[in-house]
């Protein structure tokens, strides 16, 4: 129990520091890398919660695919250095208000602990394991799963069709 708590607070601290560093950093590439760091810490938190599948997805999809895409875009556009002149004036007060509102909502949900407790009692150890997710995905949700794969293929073909034409034009 205590080991868990120590681990949790250690990881939580790292995650928060990484998140703050991501916002504070002036260089967009550093920001992106701090975000990757934050994602990895959160993935470890999922592991602590016995949610292996979500942890792996977090690493492959968020820390992997999406952030690599971000880095590509940042580097291709050459916007590593923050170049936007002044910040928008009402951005700071607005973000404080919205942040406080979100924190308030979270506190409300967590303090009203009757919401959280009900369904948790019914969960088995199997819940959320890769094996059980796989079973649901390939039985109950077979059709949506396969259609999604076709959808991704179509999106890929579409992207190539649109960009290839422009390359020919550039010749």
């Amino acid at each position: 129990m205590t080991i868990d708590l120590v681990l949790f607070f250690g990881l939580a601290l790292i995650a928060v520091v990484a998140a703050i560093a991501m916002i504070a950093s002036r260089n967009a590439v550093y920001s992106a890398l701090f975000l990757v760091f934050n994602f990895l810490t959160v993935a470890t938190l999922y592991l602590l919660l016995n949610a292996a599948f979500i942890a792996v997805v977090q690493v492959t999809v968020y820390a992997g695919a999406i952030m690599v895409l971000f880095l590509f875009v940042i580097m291709l556009l050459g916007t590593e250095r923050e170049s936007i002149g002044g910040r928008i004036r009402w951005q700071m007060p607005l973000s404080i208000v919205l942040g406080l509102a979100l924190a308030g909502e979270l506190a409300y949900v967590l303090l009203r602990n009757d919401i959280v407790q009900g369904p948790l009692a019914d969960l088995t150890v199997e819940f959320g394991s890769p094996a059980s997710i796989g079973r649901v995905l390939f039985n109950e949700y077979l059709v949506p799963f396969e259609v999604t794969s076709i959808l991704l293929l179509v999106a890929m073909i579409g992207a190539i069709v649109i960009t290839r034409k422009q390359r020919e034009e550039g010749k």
Partner: protein, 483 residues
């Protein structure tokens, strides 16, 4: 899950699978002979038509209710596949003429069709969402097919951004409906609403958002802003397919979700759909009057027709009328598809290589130069107005009758009055063709001409003898499965 489940989605598997195979085959087809790809694509569609016909009349749920096979889905799938065949035939010469012929056109068209087929038999909101996306994403790319032409790029970008926005509404609405009913299965939603184990406010907001998302897809007012620009900018063969196919796909989902899955919540969506129908009919027809470009004019016309079909939803809120309302909507969709494909075909024949020849004035003298083509166009315009002896009249007659049966007399009146308004701009095309002198430059391409001939024949034939079509539609019952 057994082999019968796979038979239930066979048309979808054929079309999507064939598109994927064709993608590879296309690599070995030389660039100047892409007609082979088009021909092969049509072969795949014919196989899918055979698959649909072979299981006509069967009603069952497959894959634990994810897929529904019934008369409604089979009928719509036949319509979609027929539209697909005509769309490919219309595209072939046009793509060559505009020098944008590439095999991927037909492949993306097949993928979009597979999304429509799935939409017709979707039994779960998750499948509905995926079908909407599978239908739309190839269309975004097809709209951009004439890149780097600026209007094609603009059209694709607008369509993509607003389409993505609408998808956001749709998926959020689905999430809220799930939160309210505890299920995404359409059959489960009926049971949940009947047992009153729902949160009404979530159901109201959720179904409202689904209505917004699908309203974008069918171009209903006030979610129609994208339509004229997208229809005008996209390559005309794409517009033809999008105006008919995407709209029918959107209505397939609207009818299925609201009439068969949410009849218990009819009190909530009935006033909303009623006002959308009235506004769409009124604004589509009024805005069409001032258009000088035929593509924009037909775009507003397609908005107006979405309004007419939308009338089936408030009518179906009255349980006794609901089955007839679904049939009237299906009949109108067929009417709309035949007539519109024909009208767009004529526009394709009139368009010049550089994309001009699209003003209504350019049709001057068509009556003298190409009497047959002008006659066909006149027939389509009469059908869009709803004047006998065309199929458009039968469609409007059936639909108005249903609306009156549902005691929505004022809505039927709005329909009749707006049809009268529409006569002004439809008949103007006929006047320009026959009364003005001019030397229009017209194409005569065998495939295009035959699609115009077939649709003109259909417009006339079903206008005089709608019995065959009505008999087929009378077998359609949307509601049996969940009762």
């Amino acid at each position: 899950m057994d082999w019968q489940d796979f038979l239930s989605v066979l048309p979808f598997i054929i079309v999507a699978g064939w598109a994927t195979i064709l993608l590879l085959v296309d690599l070995w087809i030389p660039a100047n002979r892409k007609g082979i790809t088009a021909g092969l694509a049509v072969l795949g569609l014919i196989a899918a038509i055979a698959a649909v016909i072979s299981r006509f009349g069967i009603e069952r749920e497959a894959f634990d209710g994810m897929i529904i096979v019934d008369g409604f889905s089979s009928f719509l799938q036949l319509l979609f596949l027929g539209v697909g065949v005509i769309a490919i035939a219309q595209a072939y010469d046009y793509l060559r003429r505009r020098d944008i012929e590439r095999g991927e056109y037909y492949i993306l068209l097949l993928y979009s069709l597979s999304g429509m087929l799935l939409m017709a038999s979707a039994g779960d909101l998750i499948v509905v969402f995926l079908a909407v996306e599978l239908l739309s994403i190839p269309l975004y790319v097809l709209a951009a097919f004439a890149i780097p032409k600026a209007d094609s790029e603009e059209s694709a970008l607008k369509y993509f951004l607003l389409g993505a926005f609408a998808s956001g509404f749709l998926v959020y609405g689905i999430a809220l409906v799930f939160g309210s009913t505890g299920t995404t299965a359409l059959s489960g939603m009926v049971a949940a609403i009947e047992s009153a184990e729902t949160t009404p406010i979530l159901l109201l907001v959720g179904s409202g958002m689904i209505l917004v998302g699908l309203g974008f897809k069918v171009a209903a007012v006030p979610f129609h802003m994208w339509t004229p620009d997208v229809y005008q900018g996209a390559p005309t063969s794409v517009t033809s397919f999008m105006a008919v196919g995407a709209k029918a796909g959107g209505f397939a989902a609207l009818l299925r979700i609201f009439i068969s899955a949410l009849p218990g919540a009819a009190v909530m969506w009935m006033p909303l759909t009623m006002w959308i129908a009235a506004l769409t009919m009124a604004w589509g027809n009024i805005a069409a009057i001032s258009q000088t470009n035929i593509k924009r004019m037909l775009a507003y016309s397609s908005i107006a027709h979405a309004g007419y079909i939308f009338m089936a939803l408030p009518a179906a809120a009255t349980p006794e009328v609901a089955p007839e309302a679904v049939r009237a909507a299906l009949f109108y969709l067929v009417t709309y598809a035949i007539t519109n494909l024909g009208a767009w075909g004529v526009v394709l024949a009139m368009e010049k290589a550089e994309g001009s020849g699209l003003e209504i004035e350019d049709y001057s003298g068509l009556g003298k130069k190409r009497p047959a083509l002008a006659l066909a166009m006149a027939l389509f315009m009469l059908s869009l107005t709803g004047i006998p002896p065309t199929v458009g009249f039968m469609g409007k007659f059936y639909l108005f009758q249903v609306v009156i049966d549902a005691n929505l007399i004022w809505l039927a009146l709005v329909g009749v009055v707006t049809s009268l308004i529409s006569a002004y701009y439809y008949l103007r095309v006929i006047v320009v063709m026959y009364m003005r002198d001019g030397e229009p430059e017209v194409r005569s391409e065998a495939l295009l001409n035959s699609t115009i001939f077939i649709t003109a024949f259909g417009t006339f034939f079903f206008g005089i003898l709608p019995g065959f079509l009505l008999k087929m539609i009378n077998q359609v019952s949307l509601l049996d499965l969940f009762r």
